[in-house]
């Protein structure tokens, strides 16, 4: 009960000149604080949008300062009546300030549309004034019809009508341009609409009650204040957003620099390791070669066999190092694709490999048609072919066949290597492209290899954004098919 009384009393107080002074003073304070916030941001970033907001909010603050001054002189110096002209001028100035604020808030939309704010305002101001004038005349005619006094109300009416027209026009403008980006759009529209409630109520009061309805006057008070609170909130959020973004930007800049450093170190590491490991291997190969060729004296058969083993193992070690380095490059995505157009038939029709398997009594069928032109990274695709081929050889017994084929599809092309080997169990297929995976551990010993070949294939296929399919039947054979998207060269 007491609270209702208190509120009632307070709202009544707001209706008096003293109350008016309190309201205006608080509004002045709010606008000053908002302006202070924007100006301190502007001194750092010098953005046009902020300058625009400063001009608009300064106009509003000046308006509130003038209003506070007049009200204060009324309250404290009883200078009541003679100020009518100045107060009216001040009210019109407030409309202009509102117009500036509305334009400042929609500035990001104008920027996106490529419209200059000045010419936009120069066009809208007469347009909105014209509409306000027409509407005011209409409202005044309503008052006249009712028999009210036009002399008493024409200023209030036109001021209120102009406020409503300006704010609703810009609220509508934001809604009509909703495809453009504007942060806190809903808050801004809400602030505009709430601001219009006070003049709407006052107009209603004027038209129907000669502005004598106490409850309506009291009810109108809080709205501009709420609206200003929302403006303040939007400005605060805009500035806080900026601060957060700047913080994020600095963070990602640091992260990027760090990543670049790491990537550089990794490159250097790979290149150093490559050099450091390959140097001793080169020595080993050269000296075993010199020994085997008898350049340092005749070599008995048993010693030559031993040297052959050292030689073969040196090759294996070299292959291992090459594979690890390749995989490391592919995985760190360092390995960019160098696309070119070439004939796949020519690439797979390599006598080196066909002769190599002839020794193991495995025949090779090349089902890739002549002139099968594709766009891919030639060197990498060659590696895919070699790795798939070696893999097929490993698991195909003597007398078997390896078939290499290719097929053009609509937006893709297929490349497959099929063998008549031992096959792989279904549940092991998903794992066969993992690093160091061997279907059976004994294979490492019997078949050689370390299980990196297919991991490299997978890496290269993924760089080309291709897919791998495996069909296998135990003791019948395995077919590995790779589906590549048709790429364009550039």
């Amino acid at each position: 009960m007491t609270l209702t009384l208190l509120l009632h009393g307070f709202f009544n107080f707001l209706g008096t000149t003293q109350g008016e002074l309190l309201k205006t003073a608080v509004e002045l304070l709010l606008f000053t604080v908002v302006n202070y916030m924007i100006i301190s941001e502007w001194t750092r970033s010098r953005k046009r949008e902020l300058r625009f907001l400063i001009i608009a909010f300064s106009a509003m603050a000046i308006d509130k300062l003038a209003a506070t001054y007049f009200l204060a002189s009324e309250v404290f110096a009883s200078a009541s009546t003679n100020l009518w002209t100045i107060k009216t001028a001040d009210n019109f100035f407030e409309i202009f300030a509102l117009f500036l604020i509305a334009n400042a808030f929609i500035y990001p939309i104008l920027l996106q549309k490529g419209i200059s704010a000045k010419s936009f305002m120069a066009k809208k101001l007469p347009f909105l004034l014209g509409i306000s004038l027409l509407l005011s005349l209409f409202v005044l005619s309503l008052i006249d019809l009712r028999g009210g006094s036009l002399n008493d109300f024409w200023t209030n009416t036109s001021i209120n009508v102009a406020q409503v027209v300006v704010l609703l026009y810009y609220a509508g403008y934001i809604i009509a341009n909703k495809q453009y980006k504007l942060r806190y759009k809903a808050n801004i529209v809400l602030a505009f609409v709430i601001y219009t409630l006070a003049p709407v109520i006052e107009l209603f009061n004027i038209i129907f009650y000669d502005n004598m309805h106490r409850s309506l006057t009291v009810a109108a008070h809080p709205f501009p204040f709420i609206s200003i609170m929302i403006f303040t909130q939007v400005i605060y959020l805009k500035l806080a957003d900026k601060a957060a973004l700047q913080h994020q930007l600095r963070r990602s800049e640091r992260l990027y620099a760090h990543e670049k450093e790491v990537s550089k170190l990794k490159d250097e590491f790979v290149s150093t390791v490559s050099h450091e490991l390959k140097t001793p291997i080169t020595s080993m190969k050269l000296y075993t070669g010199i020994l085997r060729e008898g350049k340092l004296g005749p070599v008995p058969k048993k010693q030559k066999d031993a040297l052959d083993i050292v030689h073969a193992e040196t090759d294996r070690l070299n292959q291992l190092i090459t594979d690890i380095l390749d995989l490391s490059r592919i995985e760190s995505n360092k390995s960019r694709l160098e696309l070119s157009e070439f004939d796949l038939h020519e690439m797979v029709n390599d006598t080196l490999y066909i002769n190599m398997v002839k020794k193991e009594q495995i025949s090779t069928v090349i089902g890739v048609p002549k002139g099968f032109f594709v766009v891919a990274d030639r060197n990498k695709l060659k590696q895919v072919f070699i790795n798939l081929f070696n893999n097929a050889v490993k698991f195909t017994p003597a007398g078997g066949t390896i078939t290499i084929s290719a097929k053009m599809l609509d937006a893709e092309w297929e490349f497959s290597v099929a063998d008549t080997g031992i096959g792989i169990e279904k549940d092991k297929i998903p794992r066969m492209f993992e690093k160091f995976y061997q279907a059976e551990s004994y294979m490492t010993r019997t078949k050689g290899g370390i299980g990196l070949g297919l991991a490299i294939v997978k890496g290269i296929v993924e760089l080309h954004e291709g897919k791998i399919r495996v069909d296998s039947e135990i003791n019948k054979g395995t077919r590995i098919t790779i589906v590549f998207p048709k790429l364009t060269r550039y």
Partner: protein
Amino acid sequence: MAKKKKSILIIEDEVNIANAQKLILGNDYDVSIAYDGESGLKKVRELKPDLVVLDLMLPNRGGYDVCFTVRQDPQLNSTKILMVTALTQNIDKTKGVMVGTDAYLTKPFEPEQLLTAVRKLLS
């Protein structure tokens, strides 16, 4: 009198590899060795060899630099260069061609590969 042997300068900082190369080439060619880029370049100017077997990663002046400098010298017009590198990426090869190497050999290689490459350049 036997025909004068063609001369080869090996610029290689790894003593073992340099000696192995000398063992492989020594029978058919007149071979000298330098162990870093700076002294290698001095020897090239001094000896004017028919072929330089040039390692890429050298102390005191890298292989690219040596190669480029030799190519700039009109007195060394007839000197061929065989670049030896442990790096296989295409970018390295492009860079090599730009500085003017005649051929490439990637480490590790077989004695036979070295002989074939050298014969091809000096034929």
